[in-house]
């Protein structure tokens, strides 16, 4: 019984953290079709900004928000300088965002060094639920993850901006002909996705040690989250995908070594990708 409860809470928390980490990728991939290989570097950048700001005495919440805005700005600049010229060549955007990863990682190494850094947890302790104690900070981050997805859902489905974005996703040319500023909205989506990636990086920083390659593990897992969940299924897909990947990792780690569990998850994800390339939870 104890194991069961701990597996369930672990799975829920891992799912939510993974969903948070993958959300920025899912937005950019799902809404404007750019495969952002620089997503991992954006997470890392958010984590380093947060580390740097908190070290200089800024409160944690303000640091995270400022870091996210900074990463969002970096994303906007990158989009404006390079990516916007390549929307009709998806493969080149993949290579260019990968180049963004390479450049950003090197800049991080030069500016912040290669040592492992730690961000102090803003909230210590655990929430006691009788037989099991849930780490408080993770729970709050999990809650934020849900809040973020719900508010994005609200924007997409209940506001006029959301209608415009969905129109653009459905038919870019038609949306443009009807007078929507498609180029501007692509920019907004790319910037928002980068902002979310930075936010996730900042929030995740206290849970792991921060190093220049911390985003890498999340990059590949995030991809599988998006692919398993189904591209374009930005909201429910992200949650389902995270649940599949995170849940599998938790369950498999019970029976084997953590590393082997991760190998097995990647293997299963490739198999899923082959049999359901349009996503596991989307109808044929």
């Amino acid at each position: 019984m104890d194991t069961l409860i701990s597996v369930i809470t672990d799975t829920v928390l891992i799912t939510l953290v993974l969903a948070l980490a993958a959300f920025g990728l899912a937005i950019i991939y799902g809404l404007i079709g750019v495969i952002n290989m620089g997503h991992g570097a954006m997470l890392t950048l958010g984590a380093y900004f947060t580390w740097s700001l908190t070290r200089h005495g800024m409160p944690f919440v303000a640091s995270v928000l400022l870091s996210a805005s900074a990463v969002g700005t970096v994303g906007l600049v990158f989009e404006h300088l390079i990516i916007r010229h390549f929307y009709n060549r998806p493969f080149d955007t993949l290579l260019l965002t990968w180049a963004f990863f390479l450049v950003a990682t090197e800049v991080i190494k030069i500016v912040f060094g290669t040592d492992f850094r730690n961000v102090a947890r803003p909230i210590e302790g655990a929430i006691d639920i009788g037989i099991y104690r849930i780490p408080a900070y993770r729970t709050i981050v999990g809650g934020l993850s849900i809040l973020l997805i719900l508010s994005t859902a609200f924007i997409l489905y209940k506001t006029s901006l959301g209608i415009k974005i969905r129109a653009m996703v459905q038919n870019r040319e038609m949306a443009g002909l009807l007078g929507l500023n498609v180029a501007f909205m692509y920019k907004c989506v790319f910037g928002f996705g980068s902002f979310i990636a930075g936010l996730a990086g900042g929030l995740i920083a206290p849970m792991y040690s921060v190093d220049p390659y911390m985003g890498n593990t999340f990059l590949v897992r995030s991809f599988f989250v998006v692919i398993v969940g189904g591209i374009g299924q930005v909201l429910a897909g992200t949650l389902f995908g995270s649940f599949t990947i995170g849940g599998l990792e938790t369950v498999l780690a019970l029976f084997s070594d953590q590393v082997i569990a991760q190998i097995a998850v990647f293997f299963i994800a490739v198999v899923l990708l082959r049999f359901r390339p349009q996503g596991v939870f989307t109808g044929r």
């Binding site: 495969i35 390079i82 998806p90 493969f91 080149d92 993949l94 290579l95 260019l96 990968w98 180049a99 390479l102 450049v103 090197e106 800049v107 190494k109 030069i110 890498n216 590949v220 991809f223 599988f224 692919i227 070594d257 590393v259 082997i260 991760q262 190998i263 990647f266 293997f267 994800a269 490739v270 990708l273 082959r274 049999f275 390339p277």
Partner: protein, 347 residues
């Protein structure tokens, strides 16, 4: 294959451009290989030690160039096959006691192993129509799977410390034996291997097989409509690519004296993508030269204190420039240079 289908396959690419490339390619290959053959006669020491490694990295770059330049498929997992080759020869030479030369068995095992792995994975993915970006993500995962596997079976593979691999010996039964312990015999053995593999690969890519693959790159749906079994051709191409990467990995391990998990890693895999983008994805010799040039430059600049930290950054910027400005890489630049000269000399 009917005659019509064949000629359609030929029409699918830009015939005049290609005819021009072939001519220049042969010339470039002759010059480059001759230069490589002369190097040890003129220079000695470190250069003779390190150049064979870069030639093998060039071979790895070729393994991606046939995929990317000819088939229009990009793989972020070439290092996985390279590592299969490297660990095969390492493990065979370490553990197996065989009546025949263990290095031969290791190379054979590494090459066929990497080729077969690529065939199986290629069939698995291509037969379901997994394309372009999805394929990149799948191959990215492949690299991580191989890297993690090698790391976690540390009692066999040495884990993070890597696996020590001896220099091999070339033997012909008991008649003839040549140790490759010294750099000179190693250099010429590697040069010979790389040259032979290059010639064979060029021949394959100029055969009808290569033309069909180019057809797939230019218009996959039309090739399907013409009745070509597109997944089968893609699978074969990926198998050949894995095989080449396996050869490169096996010889690299015995030259460098080690096989390491990072040989399978994502960063190494994408390094290959950079070499090919810089050298020229449409030209095998361009990709080969691209790897040698970038690897040499990287080695040289990393030895200078003032810029060693900035080189990877610079490399990233060069990569961006190659994608945006020089889509045909160095090979394209050289080609256009010759083109201009021809124009200038014509009345």
């Amino acid at each position: 294959m009917t005659l019509e289908a064949h000629s359609a396959a030929n029409d699918a690419h830009h015939a005049p451009l290609r005819a021009r490339l072939i001519h220049g390619e042969d010339l470039a290959a002759i010059v480059l290989f001759l230069a490589l053959a002369i190097v040890p006669l003129v220079i000695s020491g470190y250069v003779v030690y390190i150049l064979p490694q870069y030639m093998l990295l060039g071979l790895l770059a070729m393994s991606l160039a046939i995929l990317w330049g000819y088939g229009g498929i990009v793989s972020f997992g070439q290092a996985a096959f390279f590592a299969i080759g490297a660990y095969s020869i390492g493990l065979v030479m370490k553990y197996a006691s065989l009546p025949v030369n263990p290095a031969y068995i290791g190379i054979l095992l590494g090459t066929t192993g990497a080729g077969l792995a690529a065939l199986v994975i290629g069939y698995f993915l291509f037969s379901a129509g997994v394309r372009s970006t999805y394929f990149v993500v799948a191959t990215l995962a492949l690299s991580i799977i191989v890297e993690q596997t090698v790391k976690s079976f540390s009692n066999i593979t040495g884990g993070w410390n890597g696996l020590y691999v001896d220099r091999m010996t070339v033997s012909l039964g008991s008649l003839y034996e040549l140790s490759l312990f010294d750099d000179m015999p190693m250099y010429y053995t590697v040069l010979l291997v790389v040259f032979v593999v290059y010639v064979v690969t060029v021949a394959v890519m100029r055969s009808p097989f290569g033309k069909i693959v180019i057809g797939v790159r230019e218009n996959e749906d039309r090739m399907l409509a013409l009745g070509f079994n597109v997944p089968a051709y893609k699978t074969l191409l990926f198998g050949l690519s894995g095989l080449l990467a396996g050869v490169a990995g096996a010889f690299y391990a015995t030259h460098a004296n080690f096989a390491h998990p990072s040989n399978a890693g994502v960063l190494f895999s994408t390094q290959v993508v950079i070499w090919v983008a810089v050298g020229g994805r449409r030209s095998l010799i361009g990709a080969f030269a691209g790897a040698i040039i970038v690897a040499s430059l990287s080695n040289y600049l990393s030895s200078i204190k003032a810029i060693q930290n900035y080189w990877p950054l610079l490399q990233g910027l060069i990569f961006i420039a190659a994608i945006i400005l020089f889509r045909e890489g160095l090979a394209g630049l050289v080609e256009s240079l010759f083109q201009k000269q021809k124009h200038a000399s014509a009345p």
